[in-house]
């Protein structure tokens, strides 16, 4: 089931580590409990971002493939 994001970070066209750094910036700015969705056209983001989310202790809601890009949905939990 998909959840509606509070904030969408469109990092398409940006190469690794751009999308991850964009997510990190958004996580710093948002409150606990908010859902952030990163769009990335760089395939390695679909692997790297979930790895970072795990290390940083947030919740990975899901990784969804869209038309030529990935949507990685994260919940800020702390």
């Amino acid at each position: 089931m998909e959840v509606k994001a509070d904030r969408v970070v469109d990092a398409r066209g940006s190469y690794c580590p751009g999308p991850l750094m964009e997510l990190i910036k958004a996580i710093r700015e948002e409150d606990v409990g908010k859902i952030i969705e990163v769009w990335s056209s760089d395939e390695s983001s679909a692997k790297d971002i979930p790895e970072w989310v795990k290390k940083a202790g947030h919740e990975l809601v899901g990784v969804f493939e869209a038309d030529g890009y990935w949507r990685i949905v994260v919940k800020k939990t702390r």
């Binding site: 910036k25 790895e51 290390k55 702390r78």
Partner: protein, 379 residues
């Protein structure tokens, strides 16, 4: 008369001016074209030299030249601070005047913003500007052993390889001063590897291991506890330190932010091939100022300046501009006190570092002196 205004007196602005002049010399002489370079300081600093200055290997005097000595005399040099680019009216406003343009070149560079990490100014050091390098030189001279943390606190930043270089040189600096056995070296990086480019990681990571240099990845500092000398990260980690060498977050120039021309970081949205500012036919951007996914490094600015100068000259001559930037970058990587490797790459070619050698190091040392010929457009 056509007016070209170049904003910024760093590598990008100076080289663009110096490459442009010879191409349209007659038109400048006949007063058909005027080139104005606006810089907020009357000197240029060779920033790669900070890496050597902090270890007392290059002095401040070797890193500074008056812009008047570097910029072609056919260029009108204005020392003034630009406060606004009024793109709708093709005008640059400065603290002391205003300059209308037919073509604008944005070469406003990047700057460190240590204040974005609470506690960093009080508790840390950096070598990405003159003030920071001067302070760090003193701290290193007084260092008597302990734990040094080299921490990259944001991407993008100037000279992407410099954090690795400073770590390698520190290792040898401490050995030469009989302090390596009494010291720990820890390098941290924000993503899940020690650098963004895999071929570089493959070379450098084993070299860190051989030298006993520790590293941590996915390490994003949010605060420095200056009193207790600790770095605290977004990932929930803490690292103590005796000396913190940070690569602070970077931003684009204030004038870009104040003019509404930048993205969230103050970087100018730029076409990766033509170097035109998105949405403007009469504006080019190059060097650190752009939002391009290329290194913020002098060599990139150098190669881009060739493209911008060629295209501006073509436009002035009424010829369709055809020069394209292909993402080219060249970086020396010091891997010790007296050895280095280098990489070059572009949008289509990944980097392939050569094995480090003394020879490459000495070429780099020679280039540190020869840079001023580059700035004059000669090399």
């Amino acid at each position: 008369m056509k007016r070209v205004v170049i904003l910024g007196g760093g590598v990008a602005g100076t080289l663009t001016a110096n490459y442009l002049v010879p191409k349209i010399k007659e038109r400048i002489k006949n007063e058909e074209v005027q080139i104005t370079l606006i810089s907020d300081r009357n000197f240029q600093i060779y920033e790669p030299g900070f890496l050597y200055m902090i270890f007392n290997r290059l002095g401040e005097g070797e890193l500074k030249r008056n812009l008047g000595e570097l910029v072609d005399p056919a260029v009108q040099l204005v020392i003034d601070r630009a406060t606004k680019i009024d793109a709708d009216n093709s005008r640059v406003v400065t603290e002391n005047g205003s300059y209308d343009y037919d073509y604008l070149v944005i070469a406003t560079g990047s700057r460190v913003v240590p204040e974005e990490i609470p506690g960093l100014k009080e508790g840390g050091h950096w070598f990405y500007n003159l003030e920071g390098a001067t302070r760090l030189r003193e701290a290193l001279a007084k260092f008597n052993g302990g734990k040094i943390v080299v921490s990259v606190m944001g991407i993008p930043h100037k000279c992407p390889v410099a954090p690795m270089e400073v770590t390698f040189i520190l290792h040898d600096f401490l050995r030469r001063r009989n302090l390596r056995d009494k010291s720990e070296l820890l390098y941290t990086y924000p993503i899940n590897k020690i650098f963004t480019m895999d071929p570089v990681v493959e070379l450098i990571q084993p070299m860190f291991d051989e030298r006993g240099i520790q590293y941590k990845t996915f390490f994003n500092p949010i605060e420095v506890d200056a009193k207790n000398r600790k770095v605290i990260t977004l990932e929930g980690e803490e690292e103590s330190y005796d000396l913190l060498i940070a690569i602070p977050p970077h931003k684009g120039a204030q004038v870009i932010i104040d003019s509404g021309l930048g993205d969230k970081g103050g970087w100018v949205p730029t076409d990766k091939y033509t170097l035109r500012v998105d949405g403007y036919d009469n504006m080019y951007a190059l060097g650190d100022a752009t939002n391009l996914p290329v290194s913020k490094a002098g060599s990139v600015a150098h190669f881009q300046a060739e493209v911008v100068a060629e295209n501006l000259a073509a436009e002035i001559e009424g010829i369709e501009p055809t020069a394209m930037f292909n993402g080219k970058a060249f970086c020396f990587i010091e891997t010790g006190w007296e050895e280095a490797t280098y990489i070059w790459f572009d949008y289509f070619t990944p980097p392939r570092p050569v094995l480090p050698s003394k020879f490459v190091h000495f070429v780099k040392m020679a280039y540190n002196k020869a840079y001023w010929l580059t700035a004059r457009g000669l090399l």
